[in-house]
């Protein structure tokens, strides 16, 4: 357990994560293109996730090979997403049969819960 690296400044990481979360909320309500908002949000989330992994989980101070173990899910998830892409080329689906029927069945569920 004798970690010979200097402990990172955890308070600064915490402040960075808090500020980035506030920025995310700000970005959501920005009057700009949805695509740009989406890309910005994904980038912000990746930065936050990296901060947690690198500093809180000490990945920055681990051996390179352990980093490969830690990052392997990213590669496999990327392959999964590529595998799912053909599905998106198919017919779009609409699960809501009709607004009236949906509300009616929704009300039945609510009354079932409250009774």
């Amino acid at each position: 357990m004798a970690s010979n690296h200097q402990a990172p400044n955890y308070n600064m990481v915490f402040i960075a994560l808090t500020i980035l979360t506030a920025v995310e909320i700000g970005v959501v309500f920005m009057p700009i293109s949805k695509i740009i908002v989406g890309i910005a949000l994904i980038l912000l989330a990746l930065v936050k996730a990296s901060l947690v992994a690198l500093y809180f989980m000490h990945l920055k101070y681990e051996k390179f090979a352990l980093g490969i173990v830690a990052l392997s899910p990213l590669l496999i998830c990327a392959l999964l997403i590529i595998g799912l892409l053909p599905d998106l080329a198919g017919t779009k689906h609409q699960t809501k049969v009709s607004a009236a029927a949906q509300v009616e069945s929704g009300e039945q569920v609510i009354s079932g819960v409250t009774e």
């Binding site: 357990m1 308070n11 915490f14 949000l41 989330a45 809180f56 681990e62 352990l66 830690a70 949906q102």
Partner: protein
């Protein structure tokens, strides 16, 4: 006993020289990350193929969830502070900071229960959604529920570590168990950052 233990002491892990436990935890977390990755990828595919997917922040409301995100970030901070404390041999600091971490986790679960109750009372369930595609409800409850189960597991895991700490199990030389629970807890925080973005914000 100690001679036998010394005789069968396994070789050091080349990836994590200070413990095999850390390598084991990382491999477990990598597998767990793939579970979440599969759920989020499935969510993305269903959402992209749907023509009546509601705008999440209009249905869910993000103020409460933003606070829940902040809460998990706070609990991650107290977790690393607890580890730093025991690495200095401060057992009281360990108990204090881990208790705060547990408090953060339990509050998170309480808020999630409140949120779920509110949404269910509005008619959003696994199979019904008055605001659009019912798959929105299915994926929402599945993903946040899977994450909530991880938080629940983390709270139990942390409680066990606190109790062991109170029994004098950890010290400056033997803080590995605290580091392992820390890895798990930060992972749960990391996953929530992604869930918050994909399920609530985008």
């Amino acid at each position: 006993m100690s001679q036998v233990a010394a005789a069968i002491e396994p070789a050091e892990s080349p990836l994590t020289p200070d413990s095999w436990g850390k390598l084991g935890m990382w491999i477990f977390l990598a597998g767990d990350a793939m579970s979440f990755g599969a759920l989020l990828a499935g969510y993305g595919a269903l959402r992209a193929g749907s023509i009546d997917w509601p705008v999440p922040q209009e249905v869910l409301g993000i103020q409460l969830t933003a606070f829940m995100t902040f809460l998990l970030i706070c609990s991650s901070l107290t977790m690393v502070k607890g580890l730093a404390a025991i690495q200095q041999g401060d057992t009281k600091g360990l108990t204090k900071f881990l208790a705060l971490t547990i408090l953060g986790g339990v509050t998170f679960l309480g808020l999630q229960a409140y949120e779920w109750t509110h949404l269910i009372s509005e008619g959003l369930t696994l199979t019904h959604n008055p605001f659009g595609s019912y798959l929105f409800g299915t994926t929402f409850f599945l993903i946040t529920g899977f994450h909530g189960a991880h938080v629940t597991g983390g709270v139990i895991y942390l409680t066990v570590v606190v109790l062991r700490g109170l029994n004098g199990h950890y010290s400056a030389e033997n803080s590995n168990g605290v580091e392992l629970v820390g890895l798990y807890w930060h992972f749960v925080d990391l996953v929530w950052i992604l869930v918050f973005t994909f399920v609530y914000l985008i």
